[in-house]
Symmetry: C2
Amino acid sequence: MNPLHLSNQLCFPFYAISKEIIKRYRPFLAPLNLTYPQYLVMLVLWEEDFVTLKSIGGRLQLDSGTLTPLVKKLIQSGYIEKARNPEDERQLVIRLTERGRSLEEEAKEIPARINEVLGLNKEEYDQYKDMLDELAGKLDIKRENGYC
Amino acid sequence: MNPLHLSNQLCFPFYAISKEIIKRYRPFLAPLNLTYPQYLVMLVLWEEDFVTLKSIGGRLQLDSGTLTPLVKKLIQSGYIEKARNPEDERQLVIRLTERGRSLEEEAKEIPARINEVLGLNKEEYDQYKDMLDELAGKLDIKRENGYC
DNA sequence: TATATTTAAGTTGTGTACAATTTAATTTTA
DNA sequence: TAAAATTAAATTGTACACAACTTAAATATA
């Protein structure tokens, strides 16, 4: 067994599957003028409005270098607004616009459509989900993002 | 259960775990002057030398838009060379330099080091690997890349 | 066999990722 | 409480990813 053989890598399937699933989101997200990372930011805001850039970054594991331009795009698209927190001027507080809030309704069907495209039944979905949450825990990816 | 809740997404953990593992490769790859995608190309070449750009892209699921500049970097680093296939001038044939071949020896320890960093035992590793290969199969990511 | 189609790389443009650094605000501590 | 340390965003620079398109070579077909 050659550890340098591609078939013996654990990371590569994560990398390949992640890219593949994101590709399958595109047909559903493009009509909403969203990329996948932008969609993730919207998911966070639909859960909790009025959050700092820092806390969005905490949940999505993205830093300001990625989020600053991404937030700029979402503002240009009219989905969010930003303002400094008067209590702490270092913090940028992000909130949904009316348009951003109404977008949630249009995005409601996406998870079900994606599950169709992935062709997984409930048991398979749950099995994969459990395994991923467990591994995320081992890798310590879940402390502040609360995704599991 | 809100399907738009981040905790109910299947793709997000793939995306987050993939990025996290790649981040943990960095300390091992940086001394070899390789990024993770560049390392993947080297893995392909250490398995089989003298392959076309197209077939590298088939195995790694990357197109010429990604691979052309990446190959340029690996040439600059002195690890590979490129030439047109005289039998079919459309094809670019990639082969290892002597330095590229000797690099395999320096990379031999990386998979074991990564497994240490991930903190997975043999059973966990195998369990995750099986699940990933199964899902990759369902998503039809494995036809030509032969990684499983 | 000339034309149409297909194929492989390359190019262009947009959008992440992230390390490293900078700037400004807040908190700690000597 | 003034200086040091920390923190949150922004900035800079490098490197993917990939859609869409271009170019050139090879193959198919009318």
